[in-house]
């Protein structure tokens, strides 16, 4: 899966480093949204059936497939809890705190 990379933003130091007319390279993000989270989803691989509903329903698209199973990108998970709510296998639980 192509996923956006988190790349720190280096402030331009010279005017020529400012993009021309609001056009710039895409494919990366500069800010993690982890700070928005008050509760954090935790996925138990042993209970996961691989139905992919959480992956489909996540409004931020932070659940992704890896060799080891489904993973959650905690840099961008806002903790909305939809994945935990929708998981029929009850493999995802919301833990208090930003983890």
């Amino acid at each position: 899966m192509t996923r956006p990379k988190l790349q720190p933003f280096l402030r331009p130091k010279h005017i020529d480093q400012i993009p021309c007319g609001t056009c710039f390279n895409a494919g990366h993000l500069v800010d993690a949204n982890a700070g928005w989270r008050t509760d954090t989803p935790v996925l138990d691989q042993s209970l996961c059936t691989g139905c992919l509903q959480c992956y489909l329903l996540c409004p931020e698209g932070v659940i992704f497939r890896a060799e080891s199973g489904l993973l959650i990108d905690y840099d961008f998970c806002k903790g909305c809890g939809i994945c935990a709510h929708e998981c029929k296998a009850k493999a995802i639980t919301m833990r208090k705190g930003g983890l």
């Binding site: 402030r11 010279h14 480093q17």
Partner: protein, 408 residues
């Protein structure tokens, strides 16, 4: 019915309260940040019955001002409000309204223009429309916002003026900031602001043609008449402000307001809310023995050319602080000021401080630095008179070599 009282209100809420007191017949509105709470509050007032008027939801700003014109054309007192992109969307209507001599009052929340997309405060939206034929006011705080809505109708509807008025509030800084305001009673406003009466309207008893064409044989005379009305408005503005002071105990100095500028060597000219911050800096520098002062430009149209020339006559250097730039040249306020001073034969050094674009904060230290630059400039006039304040990047060519290795 409003009784005189104090309120802790935002600039937008103050505008809405002022509009209610002015008793408009028709409000046509389209929401846009950071004006939205004005039109929301007015809608609530219509719903709760405290404001009795026709409230039109329209689908764009172009329609909002068109609807206001239509209402004005039947003799109704009207109000609308907008900001930045919305103001520019209605630009052809601005000229229609002023050419048609419809005394509409519109609040504009000063906000930056795309691109880049930015919803924060600067003044390029209204300053780019100085030629639209509208009287333009820039208020410093929520109290002035409320008071100027009332004064705006008195000025706009005056038979020698009959010109629409734009009341500008700095977006967020004034629109969304809560402060203490004195809300006058409905009765006192009714005594100050008589019902709108005009012959410039459609009337079944005295039919008129309106909104007609003028050929090259006649068009220029209309424009001269419009221009004269705006010039004559200056006297009406001063008299209205004086009368407001008599009725309500508050007045604002007319076209301009000066603060400690009488014996000042270095004077800063300001528009809108930044005037407040500048007052604090003037006090700080005066306490240190510097002879500094400021003049708040309240009206950009009609332009207070004589007043500004007179108030800056003895200064060594004058700074024009504006949240605006006309790309490729200079700030528009600077252009207007230079013309006024040149025509008056006045010649202090004038510097243009371009600051606050896109909502960038203007700190007290930034303003203090401007006074330092005026002092330095008075001794050694710089070649470059247009100074962008608080840029976060180097702009000199040599600096690029140093930063070339540090990519984004």
């Amino acid at each position: 019915m409003t009784h005189a009282h104090k309120a802790f209100a935002s600039g937008n809420e103050a505008v809405a309260m002022g509009v209610r007191l002015a008793r408009p017949h028709v409000i046509a509105a389209y929401p846009i940040t950071p004006q939205t709470t004005v039109v929301e509050r007015l809608a609530e007032m219509v719903e709760d019955g405290s404001l009795r008027c026709e409230y039109l939801h329209v689908e764009s700003e172009h329609s909002a001002l068109s609807a206001a014109m239509g209402a004005s054309a039947v003799g109704a007192r009207t109000f609308t409000a907008t900001s930045s992109q919305g103001l520019l969307y209605m630009v052809e209507c601005l000229h229609y309204a002023s050419g048609g001599r419809f005394p509409i009052v519109m609040m504009n929340a000063n906000r930056a223009l795309a691109l880049p997309w930015n919803i924060y405060n600067d003044q390029r939206d209204s300053l780019s429309q100085l030629d639209s034929g509208w009287i333009q006011i820039y208020v410093e705080d929520a109290q002035e916002a409320l008071d100027m809505i009332i004064q705006a109708y008195a000025i706009a509807e005056h038979p020698r003026v009959l010109t629409p008025v734009m009341v500008n509030l700095d977006g967020f800084v004034l629109t969304h900031t809560y402060e203490l305001v004195d809300v006058p009673s409905q009765q006192s406003v009714d005594e100050f602001l008589p019902p709108f009466q005009t012959s410039n309207k459609m009337d079944l008893d005295a039919p008129t043609n309106m909104g007609f064409t003028a050929t090259p044989a006649d068009y220029m005379e209309f424009k001269y008449q419009q221009h004269r009305a705006m010039v004559d408005a200056a006297e009406v503005i001063v008299n209205t402000d004086r009368a407001f002071g008599t009725n309500f105990g508050r007045n604002y100095g007319g076209l301009v307001d000066s603060y400690r500028s009488g014996d000042a060597e270095f004077i800063l000219l300001t528009l809108g809310s930044v005037t407040g911050t500048a007052r604090v800096v003037v006090d700080q520098l005066r306490a240190e023995g510097h002879r500094v002062g400021l003049v708040k430009i309240r009206y950009m149209r009609p332009f207070p050319a004589r007043e500004l020339a007179a108030l800056t006559r003895r200064a060594k250097a004058v700074g024009v602080l504006e949240k605006n730039i006309s790309p490729g040249y200079e700030g528009t306020v600077f252009t207007n000021v230079n013309s006024a001073l040149a025509q008056a034969g006045s010649s202090p050094l004038v510097l243009n401080f371009v600051a606050g674009l896109g909502g960038r904060d203007i700190a007290k230290a930034d303003i203090a630095r401007m006074f330092e630059q005026l002092a330095a400039g008075a001794e050694n006039p710089p070649d470059e008179r247009v100074i962008f304040v608080t840029l976060q990047v180097a702009v000199a060519p040599e600096a690029l070599v140093r930063y070339a290795d540090e990519g984004l």
